[in-house]
């Protein structure tokens, strides 16, 4: 314990304080995100864009081009919104390219455990990028967010493979819903 104030001297105002009119420059969440971004070495098939400039990093976009698996050949755009509560709170990630995928719904919600229930502050943007990559390599029909896609993947894998490749490459209708070719733009 230390003595902070001298009652007798009352309070001498330190003129050196240069706080005039300023607010806190940066949230602790942003400070941590800077570390993530400075260490983010993306694989060749993933790219990042900061639409608001290099110094506004709390919102950014990631484009993933799977180089293997059913979704190979497509390009998928994700938006990341990092809250000031980061890394206690996870980033909000959406897939804005419309996709027929058991774990992604038509609104772009993604069922990836580390984005919600299994998020830990030690995880990073890099971990999420790997998680998303994995989701496109191995869709998981046991935890569906798009139930029809999951059912098709389980019951008729050959048909699932065919419609996915077709929707990704050229675009097609599946169950009355049109999926444009996955070119990495906003089609959701």
């Amino acid at each position: 314990m230390i003595r902070l104030f001298s009652v007798r001297e009352k309070q001498k105002k330190d003129a050196a304080a240069a706080a005039n009119g300023k607010t806190v420059k940066q949230s602790a969440g942003e400070l941590r995100l800077q570390k993530d971004i400075s260490e983010l070495d993306l694989p060749k098939n993933v790219s990042i864009r900061f639409p608001n400039g290099n110094d506004k990093i709390m919102n950014f976009e990631i484009t993933l081009k799977p180089d293997e698996g059913l979704y190979k050949g497509g390009a998928f755009l994700f938006t990341f919104a990092v809250p000031t509560g980061y890394p206690h709170d996870p980033p909000k990630v959406k897939c804005v390219t419309k996709v027929y995928h058991p774990n992604i719904d038509l609104e772009g919600n993604i069922c990836l455990n580390i984005l919600r229930e299994d998020w830990k502050p030690v995880l990073s943007i890099s971990a999420i990028v790997y998680g998303l990559t994995y989701l496109f390599l191995s869709p998981n029909a046991d935890d569906p967010l798009n139930k029809e896609a999951a059912a098709m993947m389980q019951q008729s894998p050959a048909q699932f493979e065919r419609v996915v490749s077709q929707s990704v490459a050229r675009g097609c209708s599946i169950g009355g819903e049109f999926f444009p070719a996955a070119r990495g733009d906003r089609s959701g």
Binding site: A19, V24, E30, E117, P121
Partner: protein, 432 residues
């Protein structure tokens, strides 16, 4: 009119020596004078804890109190936020709380601020001797932590400059559990030092919500996360809007009946959507009392303070435990960081080379990135190409001037390292 004997108990504490007094405590009537006339205390939050804090502080002799809260009074607050009455519903919590305290307790001046904590500038926060937090979110705590730590400066020997230390007392309650914590930036751990302590909010897997709901809460979350953005994409959900909440409830109820789930009520919907944990008045009272006592001890030194975290649990009898949390000496927010001499004309590349050659700092660095506040000066990884042109620029062009604090990131560092630039009077012109 001053009631006779009003300050008798306080004077016992302030006018007499004791065995457990704090360092430098000199008993005498001027301490109470200071408390009543000069000492400035800020209460952040005028909710359950805030009402208790304001009452306790005012009755303990604090004469000049400010209170800040952006919220308005809701009918559901009235059971425990005892400064508010039915006719106050809809009005500013800060304004009404200030009014009521001044009506009931003579000689106290309470100044309300009905706004967000982020709207106030640093010089507003600087005027207070002590800041007491009665908040309900980690986000707001972290913000206030950045505020308090932004004043902190260290001397040449790495000791905190006491004139820049802005102490905070944090109270928190959740049902029958609560805590009180003393944060003295530079001396006790700040929130970022111990961020790992805060448990994550329980969240349900999205696929469970979408496909296999099992509980009423699953149905309500489904309505909130999936249905609202889908069916009302142009409306921003407002938890205080009756129509919005009613919509949420109807959707959740329909979902529940579809899956044969019992127990979705309007009240539960409100609870889940607003993330309400039942508030217990006695928990607030106990935690606020402890916080007030700590504030009193801190400014008067009439007793040594809490070291530095007290948890309280009223679930099974009454239990408290006090633990000293430890500082993280590498904390990017409250640690001393290092001073580094560089001429203003040094280019960013030269500065990075100098940092890497430095016998103390160099060993922690392999591929450093540099930022200045939100400005990313040189970032490896995702922004390397975009920020590379800055490497050729003199640092005087990139930062505000002598004493600017930059942050260094490196894979070898657990968190950003603070470096305070000293523009030596050596070679090169002094930049403004």
């Amino acid at each position: 009119m001053e009631l006779e004997g009003r300050w008798r108990d306080l004077d016992y504490l302030l006018n007499r020596q004791g065995n457990v007094v704090g360092p430098g405590f000199e008993p005498g009537p001027e301490i109470r004078e200071f408390l009543q006339s000069d000492c400035r205390v800020l209460v952040v939050g005028a909710g359950g804890l805030g009402c208790e804090l304001l009452k306790d502080l005012a009755l303990s002799g604090f004469g000049c109190i400010d209170v800040i809260d952006m919220d308005t009074i809701d009918v559901s607050n009235l059971n425990r936020q005892f400064l508010f009455r039915m006719q106050d519903v809809g009005q500013s919590k800060a304004n009404i709380a200030a009014q009521r305290i001044m009506q009931r307790i003579s000689g106290v001046k309470v100044t309300p601020h009905h706004c967000m904590i982020q709207e106030k500038t640093l010089d507003f926060y600087e005027q207070f001797h002590v800041i007491v937090l009665g908040l309900d979110s980690l986000e707001a705590r972290r913000y206030m932590n950045s505020v308090a730590c932004s004043f902190l400066e260290y001397d040449e020997d790495g000791q905190p400059d006491l004139a820049t230390v802005k102490p905070m007392i944090d109270g928190g309650t959740e049902g029958f559990k609560g805590h009180a914590r003393v944060l003295i930036p530079g001396i006790t751990p700040c929130f970022e030092c111990t961020l790992w302590l805060f448990p994550p909010q329980t969240k349900f897997p999205l696929c469970t919500l979408a496909e296999t709901p099992r509980s009423p809460a699953h149905c309500i979350e489904y309505a909130k996360i999936i249905l609202w953005p889908k069916e009302r994409p142009d409306d921003t959900f407002d938890a205080d809007c009756e129509e919005h909440m009613r919509w949420m409830y109807d959707k959740a109820l329909a979902r529940a009946s579809e899956f044969g789930i019992q127990g979705v009520t309007y009240q539960l919907t409100q609870g889940v959507v607003k993330n309400i944990i039942p508030a217990i008045a006695s928990t607030n009272a106990i935690v606020a009392a402890q916080c007030t006592l700590e504030a009193l001890k801190l400014v008067t030194m009439c007793s040594s303070g809490l070291n530095n975290y007290m948890m309280y649990s009223g679930t099974d009898g009454v239990y408290t435990l006090t633990t000293p949390y430890e500082r993280d000496d590498k904390c990017p927010i409250c640690s001393a960081g290092v001073s580094f001499d560089a001429a203003p004309s040094t280019t960013l590349q030269e500065l990075i080379d100098m940092l890497m050659k430095d016998p103390d700092l160099g060993k922690h660095l392999s591929a450093p990135s540099v930022s200045y506040g939100s400005t990313n000066l040189y970032m490896r990884g995702a922004l390397e190409q975009q920020t590379r042109p800055n490497l050729e620029k003199p640092i005087s062009e990139l930062v505000d001037g002598d004493g600017s604090v930059i942050h260094i990131n490196d894979r070898q560092l657990v968190a950003a390292m603070k470096v305070r630039l000293k523009f030596g009077p050596s070679n090169g012109e002094m930049d403004s």
